[in-house]
């Protein structure tokens, strides 16, 4: 655990060594809020909740999270520092988990900085703060799942742009799995268990439940096992690709 912490600490500090971190946080907060007010019509609905705010997170994360994840391993490979990292006395999983946690914490910081919107709805009405807290937790978990996919893809290429596009695409598929549009297509011919299996793999359906106040154990387990699975794949990818 000590090594994971050292790696995470270095990585996290790394975000703030460049202006990029601040740019990202500003864009993150601005976009999430803009969508809530202008597209989600937060005020116009006349309801004191943050549903319009959280509703767009799965879509915004499609762009924002791969942007954070793309450099995680692609850059290590491109600059050759991976050779340094992998010849230090640490296990590969420690480096992978450490880097993942740092990036996740960074997104967490951005998410926390959207707190003014929470304050706003509390000033205007009496929202269910339990639901809002659950939604924040759900949003954070979902970001973690996106991030683990992005981290895995990042280990497969030296090119950050490719890493970004491919991660965004895969995350997109995981969102789409929950849309009626897609499910309807499968319902035509596929057995029911496949359709429900597909639906249960969707980021969207799990997140939707959470934002409606149902932070069920299955959803939490879903996101955590997604993270575990992709970080495991990430370990294999790093081992396979490190020397190329």
């Amino acid at each position: 655990m000590r090594n994971v912490w050292i790696i995470a600490k270095r990585e996290f500090a790394g975000y703030f060594n460049t202006a990029l971190a601040f740019v990202f946080v500003v864009i993150f907060v601005a976009l999430t809020s803009a969508f809530a007010f202008y597209v989600g019509n937060l005020f116009g609905r006349g309801q004191a909740d943050l549903y319009p705010f959280f509703q767009y997170h799965p879509w915004l994360y499609l762009m924002l999270v791969p942007a954070v994840a793309m450099r995680l391993w692609a850059e290590e490979r491109k600059s050759g520092t991976i050779e340094l990292l992998m010849t230090l006395p640490i296990a590969p999983w420690q480096a992978i988990v450490g880097k993942f946690l740092a990036a996740w914490a960074f997104i967490g910081v951005a998410l926390v900085l959207t707190f003014p919107i929470w304050i706003t709805v509390n000033m205007l009405g009496n929202p269910d703060n339990g639901v809002i807290l659950a939604s924040y937790i759900g949003s954070f978990l979902m970001a973690g799942a996106y991030l683990s996919i992005g981290s895995f893809i990042s280990a497969l290429t030296k090119n950050q742009v490719i890493a970004f596009i491919v991660s965004a695409l895969i995350c997109f598929l995981f969102i789409m799995a929950g849309l009626n549009l897609v499910l309807g297509f499968f319902r035509e011919w596929a057995p029911a268990f496949i359709v429900s299996g597909l639906e249960s793999m969707s980021f969207l359906s799990h997140f939707d439940q959470i934002t409606r106040g149902l932070i069920g154990l299955p959803s939490v387990i879903f996101y955590l096992s997604m993270i575990a699975f992709f970080l495991f794949a990430n370990t294999l990818a790093v081992e396979q690709k490190k020397a190329e």
Partner: protein
């Protein structure tokens, strides 16, 4: 040979590494003991870096194994890696960190904390001449400084084993000198492997040289042993006036230990002969006294040692012969060239 049986700190057993159809490393076995500085030579693409990557545990060999102080790199990688300091090719470092934060990071991973950590960083920075740039971002540093950051990172925990992949590449002559003396300073109680293209570096700092070509060891010995492989090693070159060239040649040819005489040059009324030493024996005294006995004036006389460059070229340019040679070259080197 002279060396007593010392336990090898680095031992590789018939390492093989393939990349697709290419066999980058093809059965390399090495032993490096404490106190040895091994110069690792070879043309580009010969497999030097790949071998070093396997020794340091970055790459898994397809066959064979690496023992670090007796610890199997494959079975217990963390334990083995703890004992190694490694400067990878090109000295990669995190560009957005400063040497200080970067070295602190490495020190923490190496298990140092608090003031202990800061002291290690300070010492490593001092040894490699980083004072003055410790708080500048690595990406803004010159190539020479970047290389030193890599070196500092490698020696930070005072490892028993140092693997340095082209440590002086891209450095100016002063910096090269500095790095060499640093290696010499540390040599006594470590096993060091240095890969390089610069042959005088091998003569300057290495106790032994291994030349590899297309994934195989083609020569292994001290710089002197390798030089003995050249036909003109220990040959004596004499410069005589043209008038005396006839008798001089006759005298040289008449000597028992001279296996042949070549005329090297004829210039400004002088002739230069080279007397080849049979069995690479020391013949200079014999040559000098024989010429003196005949009252032949000698303007210049010197012993040819042979340059490592020539050895390198000879060994690594015989394309088709290289593989056949591999076996007997090693044999020769180990015999100290006594019979060649």
């Amino acid at each position: 040979m002279t060396e007593p049986v010392k336990p090898a700190l680095i031992k590789t057993e018939r390492l093989i590494k393939r990349f697709g159809d290419i066999t980058a490393v093809n059965g390399i076995s090495l032993n490096v003991a404490r106190g040895e500085v091994l110069g690792f030579l070879g043309p580009n693409g010969a497999g030097k870096s790949t071998t070093m990557k396997m020794i340091t545990g970055f790459l898994e060999p397809d066959e064979g194994r690496v023992l670090i102080g007796g610890t199997d790199m494959h079975a217990r990688p963390l334990e083995a890696k703890r004992r190694i300091g490694y400067l990878p090719e090109g000295a990669p470092a995190y560009g957005d960190m400063t040497p200080r934060t970067f070295l602190r990071f490495v020190a923490e991973i190496r298990g140092f904390d608090g003031s202990d950590r800061d002291r290690k960083v300070e010492v490593a920075g001092e040894k490699t001449g980083l004072h003055g740039v410790m708080d500048q971002r690595v990406e803004t540093l010159s190539k020479g400084y970047k290389r030193r950051v890599g070196l500092a990172q490698a020696i930070l925990h005072d490892p028993e084993i140092l693997i340095l992949d082209e440590p002086t590449d891209g450095l100016d002559p002063n910096q090269k000198y500095h790095v060499r003396s640093l290696i010499e300073e540390m040599a006594a109680d470590k096993a060091i492997v240095v890969s390089t293209h610069i042959l005088e570096e091998v003569e300057a700092v290495c106790t032994r040289a291994v030349i590899i070509d297309r994934g195989r060891v083609v020569a292994d010995g001290t710089a002197e042993e390798l030089q003995k492989r050249l036909p003109y090693h220990n040959a004596v070159t004499v410069d005589v006036p043209e008038a005396a060239s006839g008798p001089a040649e006759a005298v040289l040819k008449g000597l028992a230990n001279v296996s042949g005489v070549e005329e090297v040059a004829r210039l400004n009324g002088h002739v230069q002969f080279r007397a080849l030493a049979s069995g690479h024996r020391e013949i200079v005294a014999e040559v000098a006294s024989a010429l003196r006995d005949k009252s032949i004036t000698v303007d210049q006389i010197y012993v040819e040692r042979g340059r490592l460059d020539d050895v390198f070229r000879e060994i690594t340019t015989h394309d088709t012969h290289a593989e056949r040679r591999a076996g007997n070259v090693i044999g020769q080197a180990n015999n100290g060239g006594a019979g060649a």
